[in-house]
Amino acid sequence: MFHLGVHKIQGESMLPVFKHDDFVVSFSCYNTHYRINDVVIVQHPSLGKILKRILSIEQKSVRLVGDNLQQSTSTQSLGLQPLSHIQGRVIWHIRAKPSYS
């Protein structure tokens, strides 16, 4: 009926908002309606579980994009992903402590 998940972020393709070692909580239920700009957890067929932002919605599929374009796989490489691959929308973001050096 619904899915609640906690995920630890690895990587920097979603900078500046989502940083390496941050945690996110995702949620989905049977009637979740995703919107453009939602940050979602997607089970990608070749890249595994990824955190991306919805760039566009085309019928029952989405195009994804990383916030940090310089360090994210391109939208074209990510491909059109069916809505069924989305595991949930990020509803809570727990930031890692800033590191001062």
């Binding site: 998940g5 906690v6 995920h7 630890k8 393709s13 957890i41």
Partner: protein, 165 residues
């Protein structure tokens, strides 16, 4: 505070990790890997076809099995390497310069699959020709001229090389 709690929970429960990275933007792209893999496919096809008609010993059968496996691995490698360059390097300016790139890459995918499923040398030759065409376009997008020469090792096929230096 919250992050500390989640970190402690993570050490106990091992939350899933989600990748907010995929490719390091190293900008190192080179079609030579795909070209060498395509040459390997032709070489494996030749070696497979050399065994045709002979009564195969157990050792020959083991060799045939390895050759077929390697042929398919290298055909898949061609597809992987080309797909990465097409997906990550080619962007609007490159597509504008070479508008038939998508069709070319699609042909490479189809021919790569044909090389996996058959032992027809013509498929291997076609795959190399297409990858050479792709390599030529790739180097031209970087303003690097190319030349064609016979590779100095079996299967002695024509390969597109960049003119560097």
């Amino acid at each position: 505070m919250l992050h500390t709690i989640f970190s402690q929970l993570d050490s106990l429960l091992r939350f899933d990790t989600t990748a907010a990275h995929c490719d390091i933007p190293c900008k190192i792209y080179d079609p030579s890997t795909a070209q060498i893999a395509a040459l390997s496919v032709i070489r494996f096809l030749d070696l497979i076809n050399e065994l045709d008609g002979a009564s195969l010993s157990l050792a020959d059968q083991a060799k045939l099995s390895r050759l077929v496996s390697e042929k398919e691995t290298h055909a898949a490698k061609v597809k992987d390497e080309v797909r990465i360059i097409w997906g990550d390097y080619f962007k609007q300016p490159q597509f504008e310069k070479y508008p038939n790139t998508n069709e070319l890459v699609h042909s490479i995918m189809l021919t790569g699959s044909a090389c996996k499923t058959t032992i027809d040398r013509a498929n291997g030759e076609k795959l190399l020709a297409l990858v050479n065409e792709f390599a030529d376009a790739f180097w031209k997008t970087k303003g690097v001229d190319t030349f064609t020469a016979e590779c100095p090792y079996p299967p002695s096929e024509q390969v597109v090389y960049p003119k560097l230096g």
